[in-house]
């Protein structure tokens, strides 16, 4: 009886040890490096691109979901004669040829500008949504808004890494990683939409703009990747 117990315990230990070894080996196979670890497996540029594109696609998907949640019958403001989105100043190519003619460095810059322009407004959006007590399903929206703002931040860092890697590889010669912020005032972006507290109409406008810009980012990133790694099926 005792021997049985001992045997069982030993077997469990062996199993656990094996699992640990296996997973540690797996981890060693492709660890995510951060700042100069010796046994790091450095991801390639293609891997970086794939990850970034994945994130941008997800970001666009969430923004589409959020935007579709709003009542479509909300009367949109009359935008005739004025700009709708606060990123109107960022010149973005609205054509395939224009985008291809822009070049890698400028395209990267456009992407970064867009991403940086949306960091604060999204935080504001999340904060504003969480404050809204009227709607029951606001919690879902608030969580989504928070998720979006996180993704935007990560995506920005990712794109910077991609750009730096490209520069190291000689693909992004003129790229300047430091981009002067568009607006000094952190609240000026959101004030484009409304001064003071945002309401649900403002939310809708904000999300409309963000949805569009996220689509731009996604498309530009894809063009960037396919121009860097030209294959038949990019």
């Amino acid at each position: 009886m005792d021997s049985l117990v001992v045997l069982t315990v030993l077997t469990w230990f062996a199993v656990i040890a094996l699992m640990y070894l296996k997973y540690s080996v797996m981890a060693d196979a492709a660890p995510i490096c951060s700042y100069g670890q010796a046994t790091c497996h450095v991801p390639s540029l293609a891997d970086l691109f794939d990850r970034v594109i994945q994130q941008s696609s997800r970001m666009h998907g969430i923004s589409t979901d959020l935007h579709s949640e709003f009542d479509h019958y909300l009367p949109s403001k009359n935008f005739i004669g004025k700009q709708r989105c606060h990123t109107y100043a960022i010149l973005t190519p609205d054509d395939k040829e224009k985008a291809q003619r822009l070049g890698r460095e400028q395209l990267t810059e456009v992407i970064l500008r867009l991403l940086m322009a949306w960091g604060d407004p999204l935080s504001q959006l999340h904060w504003s949504m969480s404050q809204d007590q009227n709607q029951d399903f606001n919690q879902y929206r608030s969580n989504k808004a928070l998720e979006i703002s996180d993704i935007v931040r990560e995506l920005k860092d990712g794109v910077i890494k991609v750009a730096e890697r490209m520069k190291r590889l000689g693909l992004n010669g003129n790229f300047v990683s430091y981009i002067s912020p568009e607006n000094v005032d952190p609240f000026s972006a959101i004030s484009f939409y409304k001064r003071g507290e945002l309401n649900s109409v403002d939310h809708q406008d904000l999300l409309y703009c963000f949805r569009r810009d996220s689509h731009k980012v996604k498309t530009y990133l894809r063009i960037l990747k396919c121009s860097t790694f030209p294959t038949l099926d990019c």
């Binding site: 949109s76 004669g81 609205d94 054509d95 985008a99 689509h215």
Partner: protein
């Protein structure tokens, strides 16, 4: 712009006289149904006209771009067909909000549709995938379909402007349900679960990651040829299953082989003693055995067929030349317990040992009966042992040697040598045999305690002997000791007489005493009617009724046989002196001389108190000591 148009139309309407008589009216409001872009570079808008009001009506499409004030009209009304507007590359801007309105105009007026906001980025619906090819391929004998296609030629995937994901569906010809598969961004897909010999229909469609699904491509038909492998796999499965069943059946048969054997090949039943249950012996309960052995009419007094009884009797010859013939049903009793033959097995199917065993039982019964008749105490062979034991203990009594016959003991003890493998076995065998033989011992109800204790005592002794068995064997291995009873050592030290197997001993009834060695041991040898034993001269086997029980062993190595009438005193067995040798034969009086003397020295009338009523005398077959 729209206001101006409206005013102009109203004026036109009012200017027209209303006295035409026909019912004309301004057109109904048109409706912008959809706008679609196949590749995110151009787009087309369609509208649905309302009732034209009976007058020729024209339609126009106007749009605003991204909240500017400039009104634009549709550049191309014809490329995309009726009631459509096609925007070419130059006029298309992505991520720009188009505010589109359709106007229907006839002579009486115009009507405006509701404006729609359109962003080219979100209205992408590509064309269907092209060049859908399906091939039947083989993977380890199993067929599968490989579907491959190309993206619609207009969608620019290479530059990454559009990213398409694909979906395909398959169904068997004649069925209703489609089986859909998601293919992601790849342009090839394998379908494995297909049936050979059928025709399949395959269709593919695509969509941008955020957009609308295209139409299903035109159906591609594919016929899968017959594959034999599939059928073969069925046969393999069937064979495996049947082989498993066969193995299980064989195993069941093997497990029940014994009962099957009995069922199919029933053993030949052998003669049974009427009214006698062999099982009683095996149970070993003396009460039952005694009662079972109580046969009123037995033994037959007249014309007794001593031939039958012959086997059970041990005939002892006392003569100078002749040796003591001891009949031993050698392994009978012992073997009976351990034999595989059951009570139903015929004599022929068992070895003769078994035969003897049965007869041993019978003999016991007979003896018992005769003993009763004669008034003698019936002793079983065990009784003799007991007696011997008792003698041993008290240094008693010389066994009386019957010249004729000594009760045969079941060769309980003789079997012991056979089991020299382990003392335990021997002990067991001994005890078993003992049980067997003793079981039918009849103890008179008023038997003394000694009698009762006899078996137990005897057993105990036997067990002791058993433990010593190997020893004596090694020492005095030359001699064969008379088995069973003989094995009982009468000596006080209870040394176990070596139980040696009589060489070549068959299950004959007689045992011939070959000689008596120096150690006062009787060497027994089996006697065959056919062949002689070791000695040249065949022992003269006395078949007869005479038998006597050995009362004990005398001090002078004499067998003390007890007759019904008189007890003869024999020499005392030199139990002590014959320490390690087997004492089995010692009970029979060691030396011929002694035997002779015993014979001559019969002391009639001397009734030795028999310690245990182990001795018995067959009254009818009263031995008569041959006078030599």
């Amino acid at each position: 712009m729209t206001e101006i148009v409206k005013c102009a139309l109203l004026l036109a309407l009012f200017s027209v006289p209303c006295t035409r008589g026909t019912r004309y009216s301004p057109p109904d409001k048109p409706k912008l149904t959809s706008c679609r872009s196949p590749e995110k570079e151009t787009f087309t808008c369609w509208w649905q006209p309302g009732h034209d009001g009976g007058l020729p009506t024209t339609y126009a499409l106007y749009y605003l771009k991204d909240n500017s004030d400039t009104i634009y009209e549709c550049p191309d009304y014809h490329t995309a067909g009726e009631n459509s507007c096609f925007f070419n590359k130059n006029d298309t801007s992505v991520w720009v909000n188009y505010n589109i309105t359709v106007v229907a105009t006839n002579a009486l007026g115009s009507n405006f549709s509701d404006p729609e906001d359109v962003d080219v980025a979100y209205i992408v619906q590509p064309h269907t995938p092209e060049n859908v090819t399906v091939n039947v391929m083989e993977d380890k004998g199993w067929p599968f379909l490989r579907v491959s296609w190309e993206s619609p030629h207009k969608a620019d995937i290479r530059s990454g402007w559009i990213t398409l994901i694909y979906e395909l569906r398959v169904k068997l010809e004649g069925e209703e349900e489609w089986e859909e598969h998601h293919a992601g961004q790849q342009k090839m897909f394998n379908i494995f679960s297909i049936r050979s010999g059928s025709t399949y229909l395959v269709q593919v469609r695509c969509k941008p990651d955020h957009g609308f699904w295209s139409e299903w491509s035109s159906t591609t038909y594919v016929k899968v040829p017959e594959y034999f492998f599939r059928e073969r796999s069925l046969w393999i499965l069937v064979m495996i299953f049947s082989s498993f069943t066969l193995i299980i059946l064989l195993w069941i048969v093997h497990m029940n082989s014994h009962s099957l054997k009995h069922c199919l090949l029933p053993p030949v039943p052998g003669p049974k003693i009427k009214g006698f249950d062999q099982q009683i012996f095996k149970n070993g309960r003396s009460d039952e055995i005694l009662s079972a052995l109580m046969v009123p009419n037995f033994p037959p007094t007249k014309s007794s067929n001593y031939e039958d009884l012959l086997v059970e009797y041990l005939e002892v010859y006392v003569s100078e030349e002749q040796e003591l013939i001891l009949e031993e049903s050698k392994d009978s009793c012992l073997k009976s317990d351990s034999s595989t033959c059951d009570s139903d097995s015929g004599r022929g199917s068992c070895d003769s040992h078994t035969l003897l065993t049965d007869k041993c039982g019978e003999a016991k019964r007979e003896r018992r009966a005769s003993g009763e008749d004669s008034g003698m105490t019936i002793e079983s062979q065990k009784g003799w042992e007991e007696e011997a034991l008792s003698y041993t203990q008290e240094d008693v009594a010389t066994p009386d040697v019957s010249s004729r016959r000594v009760k045969t003991w079941p060769s309980v003890f003789s079997t012991v040598p056979q089991y020299t493998t382990s003392p335990l076995d021997q002990k067991t065998s001994l005890e078993l045999s003992k049980q067997h033989c003793l079981s039918d011992t009849l103890f008179p109800p008023g038997s003394s305690t000694k009698e009762v204790l006899g078996p137990n005592y005897w057993e105990f002794d036997l067990s002791n002997k058993q433990s010593h068995l190997p020893q004596p064997q090694t020492h005095g291995s030359q001699q064969l000791q008379a088995h069973s009873d003989v094995n009982i050592s009468y000596t006080g030290n209870k040394q176990v007489p070596a139980l040696l197997q009589l060489p070549g001993f068959k299950s004959t009834e007689y045992v011939e005493v070959q000689k008596v060695n120096q150690e006062d041991m009787v060497i027994l040898q089996p006697v065959e009617s056919d062949n002689c034993g070791r000695d040249e001269e065949c022992p003269h086997v006395l078949q007869g009724e005479d038998y006597s029980k050995v009362k004990g062993v005398g001090s002078d190595n004499l067998l003390l046989l007890q007759s019904g009438v008189k007890a003869r005193m024999g020499d005392e067995m030199e139990a002590n002196g014959v320490s390690e040798s087997c004492y089995t034969s010692s009970s029979f009086a060691t030396t011929q001389k002694h035997i002779d003397s015993m014979h001559s020295a019969t002391i009639p009338g001397q009734e030795e108190p028999i310690r245990a009523t182990t001795g018995y005398v067959d009254t009818t077959t009263m031995f008569t000591l041959p006078m030599y």
